[in-house]
Amino acid sequence: MDPVPETSTPTCIPRTIPAPIPNARPKGGLKSPQTERVHGTLFIGTIRGGAVDGNKSPTPAELTILIAGGAAVIASFLDFAGGMSTWGSYVFPIAPLLPLYGAVMAIEIGLSTFAGRRMPRRVLGFTWEQIHLLLGLFAGAMAIGWLFTDLSRKSIGFWLEVAAGIALAVGAVRLQRERHTGAIG
Protein backbone atom coordinates (compact mmCIF):
# COMPACT_ATOMS: atom_id res chain seq x y z
CA MET A 1 0.00 0.00 0.00
CA ASP A 2 1.35 3.39 -1.05
CA PRO A 3 1.78 5.96 1.65
CA VAL A 4 -0.67 8.81 1.59
CA PRO A 5 1.10 11.94 0.30
CA GLU A 6 1.64 14.52 2.93
CA THR A 7 -0.61 17.45 2.19
CA SER A 8 0.65 19.83 4.80
CA THR A 9 3.95 20.38 3.03
CA PRO A 10 3.72 23.07 0.35
CA THR A 11 4.93 21.98 -3.05
CA CYS A 12 6.28 24.20 -5.76
CA ILE A 13 4.72 23.75 -9.19
CA PRO A 14 6.70 25.66 -11.82
CA ARG A 15 4.47 27.78 -14.05
CA THR A 16 5.07 30.39 -16.67
CA ILE A 17 3.53 33.64 -15.57
CA PRO A 18 1.90 35.08 -17.51
CA ALA A 19 0.84 31.90 -19.22
CA PRO A 20 1.47 31.92 -22.97
CA ILE A 21 -1.61 32.85 -24.93
CA PRO A 22 -2.02 31.07 -28.26
CA ASN A 23 -1.99 33.37 -31.27
CA ALA A 24 -1.53 36.41 -29.08
CA ARG A 25 -0.22 39.36 -31.01
CA PRO A 26 1.44 42.50 -29.79
CA LYS A 27 -0.86 45.42 -29.33
CA GLY A 28 -0.32 47.86 -32.14
CA GLY A 29 0.31 51.34 -30.99
CA LEU A 30 3.88 51.88 -30.16
CA LYS A 31 4.54 55.56 -30.05
CA SER A 32 7.28 55.75 -32.62
CA PRO A 33 9.90 53.58 -34.26
CA GLN A 34 12.41 54.83 -31.68
CA THR A 35 10.11 53.91 -28.84
CA GLU A 36 9.41 50.66 -30.59
CA ARG A 37 13.09 49.79 -30.73
CA VAL A 38 13.72 50.63 -27.09
CA HIS A 39 10.55 49.45 -25.45
CA GLY A 40 9.11 47.12 -28.04
CA THR A 41 9.94 44.02 -26.09
CA LEU A 42 7.92 45.26 -23.13
CA PHE A 43 4.77 44.99 -25.19
CA ILE A 44 5.39 41.59 -26.68
CA GLY A 45 2.86 39.13 -25.40
CA THR A 46 0.20 41.67 -24.53
CA ILE A 47 -3.07 41.51 -26.38
CA ARG A 48 -6.07 43.70 -26.87
CA GLY A 49 -9.03 43.26 -24.64
CA GLY A 50 -11.66 40.84 -25.65
CA ALA A 51 -9.38 38.36 -27.37
CA VAL A 52 -10.40 34.73 -27.22
CA ASP A 53 -8.44 32.08 -29.14
CA GLY A 54 -6.71 34.80 -31.12
CA ASN A 55 -9.94 36.43 -32.27
CA LYS A 56 -11.05 39.84 -31.16
CA SER A 57 -13.74 42.30 -31.98
CA PRO A 58 -12.64 44.91 -34.52
CA THR A 59 -12.22 48.50 -33.45
CA PRO A 60 -14.16 51.27 -35.24
CA ALA A 61 -11.18 52.05 -37.50
CA GLU A 62 -10.65 48.39 -38.35
CA LEU A 63 -14.36 48.04 -39.06
CA THR A 64 -14.24 51.09 -41.33
CA ILE A 65 -11.35 49.60 -43.29
CA LEU A 66 -13.01 46.18 -43.49
CA ILE A 67 -16.30 47.56 -44.79
CA ALA A 68 -14.73 50.14 -47.12
CA GLY A 69 -12.27 47.60 -48.51
CA GLY A 70 -15.03 45.07 -49.10
CA ALA A 71 -17.25 47.71 -50.68
CA ALA A 72 -14.42 48.84 -52.97
CA VAL A 73 -13.85 45.29 -54.19
CA ILE A 74 -17.55 44.63 -54.77
CA ALA A 75 -18.02 48.03 -56.44
CA SER A 76 -15.14 47.28 -58.79
CA PHE A 77 -17.39 44.75 -60.53
CA LEU A 78 -20.32 47.14 -60.86
CA ASP A 79 -20.86 49.70 -63.59
CA PHE A 80 -18.05 52.24 -63.18
CA ALA A 81 -18.53 54.54 -66.15
CA GLY A 82 -19.89 54.27 -69.64
CA GLY A 83 -21.33 50.82 -68.95
CA MET A 84 -17.99 49.30 -67.95
CA SER A 85 -16.64 48.06 -64.64
CA THR A 86 -13.18 48.98 -63.37
CA TRP A 87 -11.94 45.80 -65.04
CA GLY A 88 -13.23 46.87 -68.43
CA SER A 89 -11.37 48.50 -71.30
CA TYR A 90 -10.20 52.11 -71.09
CA VAL A 91 -10.09 52.25 -67.27
CA PHE A 92 -8.21 49.00 -66.54
CA PRO A 93 -5.66 48.83 -64.89
CA ILE A 94 -5.91 52.37 -63.51
CA ALA A 95 -9.28 52.13 -61.80
CA PRO A 96 -8.65 48.73 -60.11
CA LEU A 97 -5.76 50.23 -58.12
CA LEU A 98 -8.15 51.71 -55.57
CA PRO A 99 -10.07 48.47 -54.85
CA LEU A 100 -6.73 46.64 -54.82
CA TYR A 101 -5.46 48.91 -52.06
CA GLY A 102 -8.73 48.44 -50.20
CA ALA A 103 -8.47 44.67 -50.55
CA VAL A 104 -4.93 44.59 -49.14
CA MET A 105 -5.98 46.71 -46.18
CA ALA A 106 -9.15 44.73 -45.49
CA ILE A 107 -7.42 41.36 -45.85
CA GLU A 108 -4.70 42.31 -43.38
CA ILE A 109 -7.26 43.53 -40.86
CA GLY A 110 -9.44 40.48 -41.43
CA LEU A 111 -6.59 37.99 -41.08
CA SER A 112 -5.14 39.58 -37.97
CA THR A 113 -8.50 40.27 -36.34
CA PHE A 114 -10.72 37.33 -37.16
CA ALA A 115 -8.32 34.60 -38.19
CA GLY A 116 -5.79 35.45 -35.47
CA ARG A 117 -2.96 35.23 -37.98
CA ARG A 118 0.30 36.77 -36.90
CA MET A 119 1.38 38.96 -39.75
CA PRO A 120 5.05 39.85 -40.22
CA ARG A 121 5.88 42.84 -38.07
CA ARG A 122 7.30 44.81 -41.00
CA VAL A 123 7.02 44.60 -44.76
CA LEU A 124 9.82 46.27 -46.76
CA GLY A 125 10.68 48.25 -43.66
CA PHE A 126 7.12 49.52 -43.12
CA THR A 127 4.94 48.60 -40.15
CA TRP A 128 1.39 47.53 -40.96
CA GLU A 129 0.08 50.77 -39.48
CA GLN A 130 2.29 52.68 -41.91
CA ILE A 131 1.14 50.52 -44.81
CA HIS A 132 -2.49 51.16 -43.90
CA LEU A 133 -1.82 54.90 -43.72
CA LEU A 134 -0.06 54.96 -47.09
CA LEU A 135 -2.60 52.80 -48.90
CA GLY A 136 -5.48 54.67 -47.27
CA LEU A 137 -4.12 58.09 -48.22
CA PHE A 138 -3.34 56.96 -51.77
CA ALA A 139 -6.83 55.47 -52.07
CA GLY A 140 -8.30 58.73 -50.80
CA ALA A 141 -6.18 60.77 -53.22
CA MET A 142 -7.25 58.61 -56.14
CA ALA A 143 -10.90 58.81 -55.05
CA ILE A 144 -10.71 62.61 -55.06
CA GLY A 145 -8.82 62.44 -58.35
CA TRP A 146 -11.60 60.36 -59.90
CA LEU A 147 -14.11 62.94 -58.70
CA PHE A 148 -12.44 65.55 -60.92
CA THR A 149 -12.10 63.40 -64.01
CA ASP A 150 -14.43 63.91 -66.91
CA LEU A 151 -15.46 60.30 -67.38
CA SER A 152 -18.74 60.03 -69.17
CA ARG A 153 -21.80 58.55 -67.47
CA LYS A 154 -20.43 57.93 -63.98
CA SER A 155 -22.40 55.11 -62.43
CA ILE A 156 -23.03 53.43 -59.09
CA GLY A 157 -19.68 51.62 -59.13
CA PHE A 158 -17.88 54.91 -59.60
CA TRP A 159 -19.58 56.61 -56.66
CA LEU A 160 -19.09 53.57 -54.45
CA GLU A 161 -15.39 53.53 -55.33
CA VAL A 162 -15.06 57.22 -54.49
CA ALA A 163 -16.88 56.77 -51.18
CA ALA A 164 -14.86 53.67 -50.33
CA GLY A 165 -11.58 55.42 -51.14
CA ILE A 166 -12.39 58.31 -48.84
CA ALA A 167 -13.58 55.90 -46.14
CA LEU A 168 -10.32 53.94 -46.43
CA ALA A 169 -8.36 57.16 -45.86
CA VAL A 170 -10.50 58.04 -42.84
CA GLY A 171 -10.17 54.52 -41.45
CA ALA A 172 -6.40 54.53 -41.91
CA VAL A 173 -6.07 57.87 -40.11
CA ARG A 174 -8.31 56.70 -37.26
CA LEU A 175 -6.26 53.51 -37.02
CA GLN A 176 -3.18 55.59 -36.24
CA ARG A 177 -5.00 57.21 -33.33
CA GLU A 178 -6.45 53.94 -32.05
CA ARG A 179 -3.09 52.27 -32.06
CA HIS A 180 -1.30 55.35 -30.74
CA THR A 181 1.35 55.34 -33.42
CA GLY A 182 1.97 59.04 -32.96
CA ALA A 183 1.82 59.54 -36.72
CA ILE A 184 -1.24 61.77 -36.57
CA GLY A 185 -2.41 63.96 -33.74
Binding site: A81, I94, L97, E129, Q130, G145, F148, D150
Partner: protein, 148 residues
Protein backbone atom coordinates in the same frame (compact mmCIF):
# COMPACT_ATOMS: atom_id res chain seq x y z
CA UNK B 1 23.24 75.13 -47.45
CA UNK B 2 24.19 71.76 -48.91
CA UNK B 3 24.32 71.77 -52.66
CA UNK B 4 25.94 68.41 -53.34
CA UNK B 5 23.26 65.99 -54.40
CA UNK B 6 23.65 62.25 -54.25
CA UNK B 7 22.85 60.29 -57.44
CA UNK B 8 19.60 59.13 -55.84
CA UNK B 9 18.52 62.67 -55.03
CA UNK B 10 19.57 63.84 -58.49
CA UNK B 11 17.32 61.19 -60.01
CA UNK B 12 14.43 62.26 -57.79
CA UNK B 13 14.92 65.94 -58.51
CA UNK B 14 15.26 65.33 -62.25
CA UNK B 15 12.37 62.88 -62.30
CA UNK B 16 10.07 65.26 -60.46
CA UNK B 17 10.91 68.17 -62.76
CA UNK B 18 10.48 65.95 -65.81
CA UNK B 19 7.06 64.80 -64.60
CA UNK B 20 5.94 68.34 -63.88
CA UNK B 21 7.10 69.72 -67.23
CA UNK B 22 5.78 66.67 -69.08
CA UNK B 23 2.35 67.11 -67.54
CA UNK B 24 1.90 70.30 -69.60
CA UNK B 25 2.91 68.62 -72.86
CA UNK B 26 0.87 66.27 -75.01
CA UNK B 27 -0.25 63.26 -72.98
CA UNK B 28 -2.37 61.81 -75.77
CA UNK B 29 -2.42 62.77 -79.42
CA UNK B 30 -5.02 61.96 -82.04
CA UNK B 31 -4.81 62.39 -85.77
CA UNK B 32 -8.28 63.07 -87.03
CA UNK B 33 -8.61 62.83 -90.85
CA UNK B 34 -11.02 65.76 -90.88
CA UNK B 35 -10.10 67.96 -87.96
CA UNK B 36 -6.38 67.27 -88.08
CA UNK B 37 -4.13 66.39 -85.18
CA UNK B 38 -5.05 67.41 -81.69
CA UNK B 39 -3.45 66.74 -78.32
CA UNK B 40 -4.38 66.85 -74.66
CA UNK B 41 -2.11 67.36 -71.67
CA UNK B 42 -2.46 65.78 -68.24
CA UNK B 43 -4.31 68.91 -67.13
CA UNK B 44 -6.88 68.91 -69.92
CA UNK B 45 -10.37 67.64 -69.37
CA UNK B 46 -11.21 67.33 -73.03
CA UNK B 47 -11.29 63.54 -73.14
CA UNK B 48 -13.58 61.25 -71.14
CA UNK B 49 -10.68 58.98 -70.26
CA UNK B 50 -9.85 60.00 -66.73
CA UNK B 51 -6.48 61.60 -67.36
CA UNK B 52 -6.91 64.78 -65.37
CA UNK B 53 -7.38 63.89 -61.74
CA UNK B 54 -5.56 60.57 -61.84
CA UNK B 55 -2.43 61.55 -63.73
CA UNK B 56 -2.48 64.57 -61.44
CA UNK B 57 -1.91 62.28 -58.45
CA UNK B 58 1.25 60.94 -60.11
CA UNK B 59 2.44 64.46 -60.86
CA UNK B 60 1.81 65.55 -57.28
CA UNK B 61 3.81 62.59 -55.96
CA UNK B 62 6.75 63.57 -58.16
CA UNK B 63 6.52 67.25 -57.29
CA UNK B 64 6.39 66.50 -53.56
CA UNK B 65 9.48 64.31 -53.81
CA UNK B 66 11.42 66.84 -55.89
CA UNK B 67 10.44 69.74 -53.64
CA UNK B 68 11.63 67.89 -50.54
CA UNK B 69 14.96 67.04 -52.14
CA UNK B 70 15.35 70.56 -53.54
CA UNK B 71 14.53 72.26 -50.26
CA UNK B 72 16.86 69.97 -48.35
CA UNK B 73 19.70 70.57 -50.78
CA UNK B 74 19.36 74.22 -51.66
CA UNK B 75 17.74 75.92 -48.71
CA UNK B 76 18.27 76.44 -45.01
CA UNK B 77 14.82 75.17 -44.14
CA UNK B 78 14.99 72.84 -41.20
CA UNK B 79 12.96 69.80 -42.13
CA UNK B 80 11.55 67.44 -39.53
CA UNK B 81 13.24 64.06 -39.59
CA UNK B 82 9.84 62.40 -39.90
CA UNK B 83 6.50 63.25 -41.46
CA UNK B 84 3.36 61.39 -40.36
CA UNK B 85 5.63 58.88 -38.68
CA UNK B 86 7.53 58.12 -41.88
CA UNK B 87 11.18 58.79 -42.53
CA UNK B 88 11.81 60.76 -45.69
CA UNK B 89 13.34 57.66 -47.29
CA UNK B 90 10.13 55.75 -46.62
CA UNK B 91 8.01 58.57 -48.00
CA UNK B 92 10.11 58.78 -51.15
CA UNK B 93 9.78 55.03 -51.65
CA UNK B 94 6.00 55.16 -51.19
CA UNK B 95 5.45 58.20 -53.38
CA UNK B 96 7.83 56.95 -56.06
CA UNK B 97 6.10 53.57 -56.14
CA UNK B 98 2.67 55.19 -56.41
CA UNK B 99 3.78 57.49 -59.24
CA UNK B 100 5.42 54.62 -61.12
CA UNK B 101 2.39 52.34 -60.62
CA UNK B 102 0.04 54.95 -62.02
CA UNK B 103 2.22 55.63 -65.04
CA UNK B 104 2.60 51.90 -65.76
CA UNK B 105 -1.18 51.63 -65.48
CA UNK B 106 -1.57 54.43 -68.02
CA UNK B 107 0.92 52.65 -70.27
CA UNK B 108 -1.10 49.43 -70.16
CA UNK B 109 -4.49 51.05 -70.49
CA UNK B 110 -6.40 50.56 -73.73
CA UNK B 111 -6.30 54.00 -75.32
CA UNK B 112 -7.37 53.31 -78.90
CA UNK B 113 -7.52 55.30 -81.16
CA UNK B 114 -5.25 57.73 -79.30
CA UNK B 115 -1.45 57.72 -79.25
CA UNK B 116 0.92 58.63 -76.50
CA UNK B 117 2.43 62.09 -76.78
CA UNK B 118 5.80 63.40 -75.69
CA UNK B 119 4.30 64.51 -72.38
CA UNK B 120 3.27 60.99 -71.46
CA UNK B 121 6.73 59.62 -72.18
CA UNK B 122 8.34 62.43 -70.18
CA UNK B 123 6.07 61.63 -67.25
CA UNK B 124 6.69 57.90 -67.61
CA UNK B 125 10.47 58.28 -67.64
CA UNK B 126 10.21 60.78 -64.78
CA UNK B 127 8.18 58.34 -62.69
CA UNK B 128 10.69 55.55 -63.29
CA UNK B 129 13.50 57.90 -62.27
CA UNK B 130 11.59 58.73 -59.09
CA UNK B 131 11.18 55.07 -58.24
CA UNK B 132 14.81 54.19 -58.93
CA UNK B 133 15.99 57.21 -56.94
CA UNK B 134 13.73 56.31 -54.03
CA UNK B 135 14.98 52.70 -54.02
CA UNK B 136 18.57 53.91 -54.12
CA UNK B 137 17.90 56.19 -51.15
CA UNK B 138 16.25 53.34 -49.29
CA UNK B 139 19.15 51.01 -49.95
CA UNK B 140 21.71 53.65 -49.07
CA UNK B 141 19.99 54.28 -45.77
CA UNK B 142 20.79 50.70 -44.87
CA UNK B 143 17.23 49.69 -44.22
CA UNK B 144 16.30 48.14 -47.50
CA UNK B 145 18.75 45.55 -48.76
CA UNK B 146 17.39 42.62 -46.84
CA UNK B 147 13.78 43.71 -47.17
CA UNK B 148 14.00 44.33 -50.90
Amino acid sequence: VRTKLSPANLLILGGGVLMFVGSFLAFYTFDDPVLGEFEVSAWDRALPLGVFGIATVAVLCGVLMAVQVGLKAFSDIDMPSRLLGFTWDQLHLALGTQAALLMVAFLLRDKRPLSFGIGFWAMFVGAMALLVGAIMRHLAAGRGPRAI
